[in-house]
Amino acid sequence: MNKFVRAEGLVAPLDRANVDTDLIIPKQFLKSIKRTGFGVNLFDELRYLDEGQPGQDVTNRPVNTDFVLNQPRYEGASVLLARRNFGCGSSREHAPWALEDFGFRVVIAPSFADIFYNNAFKNGLLLVPLPEETIDRLFAEVEASEGYRLDVDLEHQRVITPSGEILDFEVDAFRKHCLLEGLDDIGITLKDEDAIRAFEEKHRAARPWLFRDSAQA
């Protein structure tokens, strides 16, 4: 997994609540059997005016110039500022894959949907929850000053604004550890292989019907 320690970057504001994973990456792009290449289709239905197809060359597609990520002032953004319940809907991990592939390292919002939250952290994408009032203020600041950047420091769990204001945020200890070290979950879990085997044996003895190979014919 990609390490995440600290990221400083341009902020793009996506002023919309309940951004769902269908919006982040529409279904036709889920047909890929790879983990990469989703960035050009991130927010496809908002970014382009036509219907996108997987594998299509996007350079000649009609662009929705009103959409925030198409505005020159947000080009190269790596921090996405969003509204409540970001990432709701399906379990598609293609959503964080697309955000990362586009170049986002951090999403800041008042709240995130559960499955998206898990998926993001497994891919080195940091999600920063901040209170709704703070988010309102950040939206206003981003709008007001072109080139607005934030410095996101995972180790100290804080976001530093251009004026030097420090915004503390919460993150689970385990997820933080994995991000800072770039650790592979499976490798960590397999260190507990003996505990899993012992549990499995006990579980099988207590409830053999849960195991098809222990089931009565």
């Binding site: 529409p26 059997i33 899993i196 089931a215 009565q216």
Partner: protein
């Protein structure tokens, strides 16, 4: 000490290890696999030279990409015209062969939507932990199984370790008390719940659905309710075990038999929340107040009763919500205060993991029998949830009812719920859909989805616009009396 909730019990029965950092290792009994979220997981195993921990815990079937016309399906995988979709389905087949995982392939009569197939086969049992790379895995909670959707990295993690790294959720209870009115179904119940608590109302929680109206539901109805827990933000929906659960499971293919069945049933009887269990949040709805629901917007919480109207954004609770409403009305091509019954439809879709089981088809057929789909409807399609549901419907003659009424009778798959195959809406088309998500573009670029029950969808197909299925039933009764 307070008693345990059903969720607490399922959690502790699968707890391998508390890791001391707020996370725990949870043992997974069943993983369902489909073609969309598994290829990168299998690829990960290959790259790390890992093998699945326990083959018999897994069951696979292609569902999202499969075509639904008989002509295409007759050709098997070769009938998948989209080359990218074909590769994905073929990759699932290849991975299942390579790793030794049981798969119901495209033309196996047991193939279907994973969340229909699992319970139908008895591959979902009470007291199990069930995962799948699909958020609607919440469906299986109807059997008092701890079931939730996971991402592809977690699919790989479960394949490799039979465990998940998890954090305990909060306990939420949603009680629906009283008796549902005639024509009001499980789908209306869950839409009403989402309308009440919102799409983030259950975030971080396992929701247990309880109360007399839930107890009265069939297993099909309970699956519909739990299926949409995720639309209320909760990864997990649960319903306690009772006779309805046990009767459904008897003689299912993977269900235990002989003495193991008796032992299992005795164990399952304990899968209920203790009387003194404490919930972090409780919400109660009066069943009698729930009317047939129709979603008008682009989020499942944007829903109202059939006698209602499209809301005025000016009356939304806050500014963010107001902007959401305005944007939704613009996308949906609706105006504030428009009556729900005035929404005209172009297409009708009856299917999806929410509403494609035999009971759903019976409800729709009851409404469609002897009627004709309105001329203004371009396409009305019925997509059974599995090959076995389709076969059962045909035994009961439901296919003929639908075909005579002008519906298309299709082959099983996810179909127009998310339109990964050829079944989709055109831009601007309004669809009465029994699926679970009305997000922008979900059923096709620019498509406009209205979530409803199977009976309401069938009624809308016949009228060409939304109608109150309760009034249709009353009219039919009156006609019978006259005759």
């Amino acid at each position: 000490m307070a008693g345990q909730t059903l969720y607490d019990k399922l959690w502790s029965q699968h707890l391998v290890k508390e890791r001391g950092d707020g996370t725990a290792l949870i043992y997974i009994d069943r993983q369902l696999l489909h073609e969309v979220t598994s290829p990168q997981a299998f690829e990960g195993l290959r790259l790390a030279r890992r093998v699945p921990w326990r083959l018999d815990a897994n069951l696979a079937t292609p569902d999202h990409n499969v075509p639904t016309t008989l002509k295409e399906r007759a050709e098997g995988n070769a009938g998948i015209k989209d080359p990218v979709s074909l590769i994905q389905v073929q990759t699932l087949d290849d991975n299942c062969v390579e790793f030794g995982i049981e798969e119901f392939k495209i033309n196996d009569p047991r193939q279907g939507i994973v969340h229909v197939v699992g319970p139908e086969q008895g591959a979902t049992l009470p007291g199990m932990t069930v995962v799948c790379g699909d958020s609607h895995t919440a469906t299986h909670g109807a059997f008092a199984a701890l079931a939730h959707g996971i991402g592809t990295s977690e699919v790989e993690h479960v394949l490799a370790t039979q465990c998940l790294l998890a954090q305990k959720m909060k306990n939420m209870q949603v009680r629906v008390e009283g008796t549902l009115g005639t024509g009001v179904t499980a789908k209306d119940v869950v839409l009403a719940i989402i309308g009440r608590i919102g799409t983030a109302g259950g975030t971080g929680c396992a929701i247990e659905f309880a109360g007399s109206a839930i107890r009265e539901l069939s297993m099909e109805g309970r699956m519909t309710v739990c299926n949409m827990a995720i639309e209320a933000g909760a990864r997990v929906g649960l319903i306690a075990v009772d006779d309805t659960t046990i009767d459904y499971l008897r003689d299912r293919h993977y269900a235990p038999t002989a003495e193991q069945w008796d032992a299992a049933v005795a164990d399952w009887r304990g899968l209920v929340s203790d009387a003194d269990a404490r919930f972090d949040k409780v919400v109660t709805l009066d069943a009698a107040e729930i009317e047939p629901q129709v979603s008008w917007g682009t989020s499942p919480e944007m829903v109202t009763g059939i006698s209602g109207e499209v809301p005025d954004p000016a009356e939304a609770a806050d500014e963010t919500m107001q902007r959401g409403y305005t944007r939704a009305l613009e996308y949906m091509g609706l105006s504030a205060r428009q009556k729900i019954t005035d929404i005209r439809l172009d297409k009708v879709f009856i299917g999806s993991c929410t509403n494609s089981r035999i009971e759903d088809l019976r409800e729709a057929a009851k409404v469609a029998r002897g009627k004709k789909v309105a001329d203004s409807i371009k396409l009305a399609m019925i997509v059974p949830g599995s090959g076995l549901v389709k076969r059962q419907a045909e035994v009961e003659g439901l296919d003929k009812v639908f075909i005579e009424a002008g519906f298309e009778w299709r082959e099983p798959g996810c179909s127009m719920c998310l339109a990964m195959n050829a079944d989709k809406l055109g831009a601007g088309e309004h669809c009465a859909s029994t699926s679970n998500r009305n997000f922008e573009g979900r059923q096709g670029f620019g498509g406009r989805t209205h979530l409803v029950s199977p009976a309401m969808a069938a009624a809308a197909a016949i009228a060409g616009h939304f109608v109150d299925v309760r009034q249709l039933a009353a009219n039919d009764d009156a006609q019978v009396e006259e005759a």
